[in-house]
Amino acid sequence: MNLLDNLFQNPGITEALPEEFLATLQMVGISGFFTLLIGLPLGIFLHTSSPGGLRAMPVTNRIVSDVVVNITRSIPFAILMVSLIPLARFLTGSSIGPVAASVSLSIGAIPFFARLVETSLRDVSSGKIDAALVMGSTRLQVITKVMIAEALPSLIAAFTTTLVTLVGYSAMAGIIGGGGLGRLAYNYGLQRFDTAVMVVIIVIIVAIVQIIQLIGDRLAQRVDHRTAATAGARQSRSDRRQAMANNVVGV
């Protein structure tokens, strides 16, 4: 009881926490949005331009894949973050705050997500692509109606993983000026030895990750018809819903 009272009187929790919680959501939200917006087309490009791909462009593929993606991915995020401060200032007009931090978060996550997208698309069998081509699909139709549609469960899983990674990165970004739960944990937990605040923050971050993962898994399962079990599960669930609806009407 005493512990709880202390927690609710702690300014770190009553005043700073709600604000920093929103800052974290903002960072993950903004960078997640841009990662999806840029990373998905980049991943599609990596896959379709590879040798033997839908539109093979070996040289361009090599440059984008080896130079851009691999180099960005091999720079440790903490260093990437600091080195991108000028770019963040140029784009957002500020070098601190969650919006500025979203710049480096996006640039760190885009190549990561693009690689995951590339791997997901590679799992779509070439037979399905051939079938779509023979029925007269354009390349764009093959990408939207076959590749993305068939890989959707695994693309959702890839984006979920990326969002969870972004939650972790955002805590790191907080320390160099992004704000958010990461900075709060650092300021109170590490510098003021306020263990209670740190524990609360960790619990909240764990909860955010769990919720993202749960929603991601549910969505992926919903669109997955690849095995009889998952396709059937969906159907039996809707059957059950139908049965419940019928009951309600009956009452």
Binding site: S125, G127, K128, D130, A131, A132, L133, V134, M135, G136, S137, T138, Q141, K145, V146, A149, E150, L152, V223, H225, R226, T227, A228, T230, A231, G232
Partner: protein, 326 residues
């Protein structure tokens, strides 16, 4: 009607040039089914990829109902492909689409109105006998049902030609029979030109009107089914109707007889017994009706005082192809 003339396809493999198709010429009349058989590596898959323009042939031409396919510009390839319906070994359905949505796929590509798609899909599904499975996903269907959906999808763009690449190789015998019956039925009702690529001889025997044997990229035997089976020189006839295995005793002379058409129905062996006062013993044999004709292949032992030459001369005279077995 599909006509393939002098089709060649070569690949570069490092320094070497590999010839996958060498001067392939064949012609299939409308409403008939042509089989292409050959071992793996014979060039069957390359032929399919050239016919569907997934690969461009090095030279030669493919003409479907008077329209040249090989010379079309890249921008017209898609329209050209819609004239060919393709059935794959593993159906290659989209897992994210229901049976009905899979059949609708080729129609969506050309912006067919929704009502039209609905009507057409229902019609195609009933044609392949899957009306009640319209909303099932491929993972909920059996192999044969998937192949039926694949056939319905191939027919959605009203093609002139149906190209079947090993359509039954992944199916069990009973399902194979169903699918072959369906292909035969559709060929007649829709007046299709069908090309079946297969390594299974019973598929050829069951539905093909004519057949080609592909070996190392060349067609080495081709013709109507009855001519091929009746041709004692070719190896394809023997593969289509092989003798059951037997153990030879070798004390008596053995003959191998190929009976075609009328002779297959005539009482040749009793006649032989009477005329030559011979004992004739059948060691192995098979009699089948293929492409509307009766064929028999028999291996017999002959025990007679008269010389063997007289016996074979008599048989040849009666229209039987005779070979003295070693």
């Amino acid at each position: 009607m599909i006509t393939v003339t002098n089709l060649r396809k070569t690949y570069r493999q490092g320094e070497r040039t590999v010839t996958a198709l060498d001067d392939v010429t064949l012609s299939v009349p409308k409403g008939s089914i042509h089989g292409i058989v050959g071992h793996s590596g014979a060039g069957k898959s390359t032929l399919v990829r050239c016919l569907t323009l997934l690969d461009r042939p090095t030279s030669g031409s493919v003409v479907i109902d008077g329209r040249e396919l090989t010379s079309v510009k890249d921008s017209e390839v898609r329209t050209a492909r819609r004239r060919i319906g393709m059935v794959f070994q593993h159906a290659n359905l989209m897992d994210s689409r229901t049976a009905a949505q899979n059949v609708a796929h080729p129609l969506e590509l050309v912006k067919t109105p929704k009502a039209e798609i609905g009507r057409k899909v229902a019609e195609l599904l009933s044609l392949v006998g899957l009306t009640e499975f319209a909303d099932a996903y491929p993972s909920q269907l059996s192999g044969g049902q998937k192949q039926r959906v694949g056939i319905a999808r191939a027919l959605a763009s009203d093609p002139d030609v149906l190209l079947c690449d090993e359509p039954t190789s992944a199916l069990d015998p009973a399902t194979t029979e169903d699918i072959l019956t369906l292909i035969r039925k559709l060929t007649q009702t829709l007046d299709l030109t069908v090309l079946v690529i297969t390594h299974e001889m019973h598929v050829v025997k069951r539905i093909c009107d004519s057949v080609s044997l592909l070996e190392r990229g060349r067609i080495i035997e081709h013709g109507a089914l009855r001519d091929i089976v009746g041709d004692r020189a070719g190896s394809l006839g023997r593969s289509l109707m092989p003798l059951p295995s037997s153990t030879a005793d070798a004390t008596l002379p053995e003959l191998e007889l190929l009976l075609v058409g009328e002779t297959a129905s005539a009482p040749i062996l009793s006649e032989l017994t009477r005329r030559f006062d011979a004992n004739v013993n059948v060691i192995a044999g098979t009699v089948e009706t293929l492409g509307g004709s009766r064929f028999g292949r028999l291996r017999v032992e002959v025990d007679s005082a008269r010389p063997l030459g007289e016996i074979t001369a008599y048989l040849e005279g009666a229209g039987v192809h005779v070979e003295v077995a070693a």
